[in-house]
């Protein structure tokens, strides 16, 4: 009971893990929910002393992404760290704890007519989880992805040391940008406890203009016209289901006085029968998969997005995402056999890699996931192992969940 007592001494919010706490099928022993960075540090020091493996969890919306961990002793839950630490509206910057839900942050920022310009493809996601998985949505075309918006970070290392990087000003090149290093690191380098973001004003007005396209050639021409136009789209999205017509959608934002004129211009660019609305089509910023499907992230150079649409359909993968940045999400039915899934992943990955991108299997039913290569060849993997060994020499943070067995 020494471990339990030590943990309880560090953090009063400690409980034994239940069946709902499994990480992709792997059962932890305890769930601990610290309220502050200092408390997190104390917990991490105890985990270090007792060689405990730790998986960090927010609201668990993406907890099964990646490989199942090789071991888990502790779930470190960030959800009690859910406060806005500082929001100076005039600076368009917010500092908040990692366990804060994006929706709660948005409510807070909305009072100042501001927002964090990230979409929320995973409903209920926390700031920390969004950073750790680097999830972005349609607006990344206009205002960047998580890595572009994060300006500061506070972390607790595997050894319990608290460190920060960046700051709370938008422009800052002092020291290494560890916020970017931790963005998309899946909890394998440190526990993120606090983040600072650059904010944007809520748009004075916005319009979504969209149309259906019957074939890839039409999609290619439509997407290219918008991409190389001067309408300054904030998002250029495409939805390509397994059969039937696809859709192309464009988001513009700006002053109410000119927005309808501009929307007409976008409609003319899109051609065909367009619809214009204040709100986007229901499929935008929503992942295309259901819980029992194989979830893919596919990237490619911009000119090859249309080719990828047809490749995906040929391999039974429905895709949607940002044609404006070359980042798409795909769903492969979960009831295919392992051989079919493997072939589709390999073929589509080859297509992505040949056009300057990559394919990641984000998630899949357990039996399929075990047989799939989730990341393909990862450039710089040797350096990544060296970074991991420096930050977490005992390999206790989300062990085995990330690329190359990290």
């Amino acid at each position: 009971m020494a471990i339990h007592d030590d943990l309880a001494g560090a953090c009063s919010h400690l409980r034994g893990a239940g069946p709902g706490d499994a990480v992709d099928g792997v059962d932890p022993q305890w769930v601990v929910s610290p309220s502050t960075t200092a408390e997190t540090a104390e917990v991490m020091r105890i985990c270090a002393r007792h060689d405990l493996a730790v998986v960090t969890r927010g609201h668990g919306t993406k907890l099964s992404w990646g490989r199942p961990p090789t071991r888990v002793d502790i779930i470190l839950e960030t959800t009690r760290m859910n406060q806005v630490v500082e929001h100076v509206a005039g600076d368009l910057v917010v500092v908040a704890q990692a366990g804060l839900r994006i929706t709660d942050l948005e409510e807070h920022l909305g009072r100042a007519d501001q927002h964090l310009s990230l979409d929320q493809p995973a409903a209920g996601a926390t700031l920390g989880g969004t950073v750790a998985t680097a999830t972005s949505g349609p607006r990344r075309m206009g205002t960047g992805s998580v890595r572009d918006l994060i300006i500061g970070i506070t972390m607790v290392r595997a050894d319990g040391v608290v460190a920060k990087a960046g700051g709370k000003v938008v422009k800052n090149v002092a020291g290494y940008d560890l916020a970017k290093l931790l963005t998309g690191s899946f909890g394998t380098l440190a526990v993120i406890t606090q983040v600072a973001f650059r904010l944007h004003h809520r748009p004075l007005s916005s319009r979504w203009v969209h149309r259906s396209v019957t074939d890839v050639q039409a999609a290619r021409a439509t997407v290219a016209r918008v991409l190389h136009s001067q309408v300054a789209p904030v998002a250029l999205e495409v939805d390509w289901p397994l059969d039937g017509p696809g859709r192309v959608a464009v988001l513009i934002e700006g002053a109410p006085a000119g927005i309808d004129e501009r929307a007409h211009g976008v409609a003319a660019l899109l051609g065909g029968d367009t619809e214009t609305a204040d709100d986007g089509p229901p499929w935008r910023a929503v992942y295309p998969w259901t819980a029992d499907e194989v979830a893919l992230k596919l990237t490619t150079q911009l000119s090859s997005v249309p080719d990828l649409l047809s490749d995906a359909r040929r391999h039974g993968v429905a895709v949607r995402g940002s044609a404006g940045t070359g980042v798409l999400y795909g769903a492969l039915p979960g009831d295919v056999d392992a051989g079919t899934a493997g072939k589709a992943v390999t073929a589509l990955r080859n297509a992505c890699v040949a056009t300057g991108g990559s394919l990641t299997v984000l998630d899949a039913p357990a039996d399929l996931k075990a047989g799939l290569d989730l990341w393909g060849e990862v450039h710089g993997l040797a350096l990544m192992h060296q970074v991991k060994d420096q930050f977490d020499p005992g390999h206790r943070l989300s062990p085995g969940r990330f690329v190359g067995g990290i």
Binding site: R140, K171, A174, E261, S303, H379
Partner: protein, 494 residues
């Protein structure tokens, strides 16, 4: 061609020369003292150090060979692009190799269909935009030195520029680099598309000031040229009014491409140097640029004009044509050099403050300057709070250098205590390493060192920059930070 018997070379540097003799052409290895002296400093001339050897690389493979030779012999190396840096980031190491990247200047690909360009590291920043202009695209990062600075240098420093307020910094525009690691391995970081799998090592390497390796190829994002650009000039009778106008514009939800401010002394200098026609008698001017769809710009223009007038702008004008626009920008972009005409010496600072503290910090700087009898000209990116106070002095007058140096430090302290940063775009380099412990704790700095140890365990890549007293890799965390100057070999201070 130097010989192994060259008695002036240290044994380890001679061994590097011996290793490179077969891979590099005669003339690429520079050991002549007078020639080496050409490279003794970068854009920050107050630090000088002559390298033991300079190597003029003309291919990525040669860069790799040089770094591998340095790694094998444990000789420190520093990469240098155009040498325009303002923090001494490319200051040579007296016992090491200076890797000259300026001959690697091929634009390999301009791909408007993918909004990408693939570049050698020595390509000049402005050349990228010139190469893409015909297809209606440009490269957004635009440091004031863009006519001469290199893309590789931009990557090392994470360079900004006037337009990063809207478009972001170099790090937001680099998709992929080929990196020669400090151990001499070639590795691709990132892909032509965003979000490459694995850790975002690219995000750490960009802005790491040459301490994590040397980029030999850079893939950047090209941005579609806007439909409309309007450049505005507003004159104010006080700095407070100009600052208030800036806040009002940002507060109205407008994101201009740029908002730059200059104070009376900076205006006087620019006027004398380039006759930019700024308003007579202004205590401050704002250079504001709006770009985007024509309808949107037209609306923003009206709003900006109203906000400037509400904040007591006594003159407000828009550049009628390209030449006038160029002249407005010339005044701003030549400001540093222009200050050289009104003062024999000056220190450029690069601190950042939260925009809301602008007026208060500028008043504090004025007070500090008054107290120490040193003049300060202010030129800065008002939109994002990145100050460039130019501390003027005459080094030939006893005590003035010390006064100026002390005032500079006090200004950085002001930035830190107001929640800002010691550098927004020039980098820490050798110049501001001593201020890092004021902004970061030992634990913060040691954590950054973990990355260094993963990339460069032997501490050979641009040692002595950014971090004042880095702990050695594998060493236990230190308990004390000294104020000793960084280890750079024999550096002369001017």
């Amino acid at each position: 061609m130097p010989s192994l018997e060259d008695v002036s070379l240290r044994a380890d540097v001679a061994a590097v020369v011996a290793r490179l003799r077969t891979t590099l052409p005669a003339g690429a290895l520079i050991t002549d003292h007078n020639e080496l002296r050409t490279y003794e400093c970068d854009g920050l001339t107050s630090y000088r150090s002559i390298p033991a050897l300079a190597v003029l690389a003309s291919s990525a493979e040669q860069v790799r060979a040089v770094v591998a030779a340095c790694a094998a012999e444990r000789v420190p190396f520093v990469a240098r692009g155009s040498g325009t840096g303002l923090s001494g980031g490319a200051l040579p190491h007296a016992d090491g190799v200076l890797l000259l990247m300026s001959q690697l200047r091929t634009v390999h690909e301009i791909a408007p269909q993918d909004q990408r360009a693939v570049l050698d590291p020595g390509v000049i920043n402005l050349q990228v935009t010139k190469s893409a202009a015909d297809s209606g695209y440009y490269f957004a990062p635009d440091p004031s030195s863009q006519q001469i600075c290199s893309v590789g240098g931009n990557v090392a420093e994470n360079s900004g520029g006037a337009h990063c307020l809207k478009y972001g910094f170099t790090t937001n525009h680099v998709l992929s680099i080929d990196l020669v690691t400090p151990e001499g391995e070639k590795v691709q970081l990132g892909t032509r598309a965003p979000d490459a799998p694995g850790y975002d090592l690219l995000g750490v390497v960009v802005g790491s000031e040459g301490t994590l390796g040397v980029a030999t190829s850079v893939t950047v994002r090209l941005v579609r040229a806007p439909e409309e650009v309007r450049t505005l000039l507003a004159g104010f009778s006080s700095i407070d009014d100009a600052g208030a106008a800036t806040s009002a514009i940002i507060g109205a939800g407008i994101v201009p491409a740029a908002i730059e401010m200059m104070d009376a002394l900076a205006i006087e200098a620019a006027e004398a140097a380039v006759h930019c026609g700024y308003p007579d008698g202004a205590a401050a001017v704002l250079v504001i640029e709006l770009d985007g769809p024509a309808d949107e710009v037209a609306h923003e223009y009206l709003a900006v004009e109203q906000l400037c007038r509400e904040n007591h702008a006594f003159e407000f004008r828009v550049a009628a044509e390209a030449a006038e626009r160029a002249l407005i920008w010339k005044g701003r972009k030549s400001a540093f050099a222009a200050v050289g005409r009104i003062s024999p010496d000056y220190i450029v600072q690069d601190g950042v403050i939260p925009r809301t503290t602008l007026a208060q910090v500028l008043r504090s700087i004025e007070e500090l300057a008054g107290d120490s009898g040193v003049r300060v000209a202010n030129v800065f990116h008002a939109g994002d709070g990145n100050l460039h106070p130019l501390v003027l002095f005459d080094a030939s007058q006893p005590g003035q250098s010390e006064h100026a140096e002390r005032l500079s430090g006090a200004i950085l302290d002001l930035c830190i205590t107001n929640g800002g940063s010691i550098t927004g775009e020039h980098g820490v380099g050798v110049d501001k390493a001593k201020y890092m412990p004021r902004m970061f704790t030992d634990d913060d700095l040691d954590t950054m060192q973990l990355v260094r140890c993963a990339f460069d365990p032997d501490y050979l890549a641009n040692p002595g920059k950014i971090y004042p007293t880095p702990r050695l890799c594998g060493e236990r965390p230190r308990v004390h930070v000294s104020d000793e100057p960084p280890a750079l070999g024999d550096v002369e201070l001017f």
